[in-house]
Symmetry: C2
């Protein structure tokens, strides 16, 4: 569990103002711009397939992790649980995911992707992959690896969960 700590608050007092850092050196600004574009790039293909961002993210995560509790899926997919529940209702109606009772604890519901869901995600993957390759066009492999390593550290710093 990582909260913004009192030390961060104290150090924040010493941080230069945004105008001094400059927008184009402020990592959260850059990441918001980049992800806004990435999400816009796949939105058209997504809409064509009748999906929304929460639905696509749920399918993407479930294509990689076999079976998840809804609360954990909400973290991985970065979707609020109430929004996710509605998205899962629709995905289940469309036969793209199925809900199943946990083998060890019958009070727990887990979610898994179906074959049709996997096929749907396969349909979307080329536009996600193209948007991803566009991001890193011309950036050497080694620089990409270092970038991802830093992203992993940053996620570790900010996340509230163990994954």
């Amino acid at each position: 569990m990582n909260e913004s700590k009192p030390e961060d608050r104290a150090r924040a007092e010493l941080l230069p103002r945004l105008g001094e850092i400059g927008l184009s050196n402020f990592a959260p600004y850059l990441m918001n711009r980049i992800m806004g574009r990435y999400n816009a790039n796949i939105r058209q293909e997504m809409a064509r397939a009748g999906l929304t961002t929460p639905k696509l993210r749920a399918l993407a995560v479930l294509s990689v992790i076999d079976s998840l509790q809804i609360s954990d899926l909400a973290v991985y997919a970065v979707v609020e649980q109430s929004t996710l529940s509605r998205a899962l209702d629709q995905l289940a109606t469309d036969g793209l995911i199925r809900r199943e009772t946990d083998e060890k604890d019958s009070r727990v519901t887990r979610v898994a992707i179906t074959e049709a869901g996997r096929a749907m995600f396969e349909r979307l993957w080329p536009s996600m992959a193209a948007a991803y390759l566009q991001m890193f066009r011309g950036i050497p492999e080694e620089e990409q690896s270092k970038f991802v390593a830093t992203l992993q550290k940053v996620l570790q710093n900010v996340r509230h969960h163990d994954f």
Copy 2:
């Protein structure tokens, strides 16, 4: 103007599937998780101040760039223009921004922050700064600089505008 090119599409065919890359090595996934957390971290302070994400982003950009056309502000703030217009209406009503006619072209409306708007942003900046410092806790200065340099390249690859 950078679109996902046919080459990206062709290379996307050769890219391993998401399951092979792994979620935790997929940069767009990591950035979505990180920004979801960053935005959640400042949401409480933002709500307390009666602001929304579009309003805060508009104020942040205008605290750094003196005067902007609405279409350009929409790009910097990563907010759709219709959403931004509504946010600007409310910010203007609250006296936090003002609209002014462009000196050179009377058909063009520009937006600028007021003193009250600047004071409001100053009130929010400590929580933004703390969330920012939390992200980079324990990450050496040099690694941070390289990370920001890569982010700048990525933005250059994906952006549709010249800034």
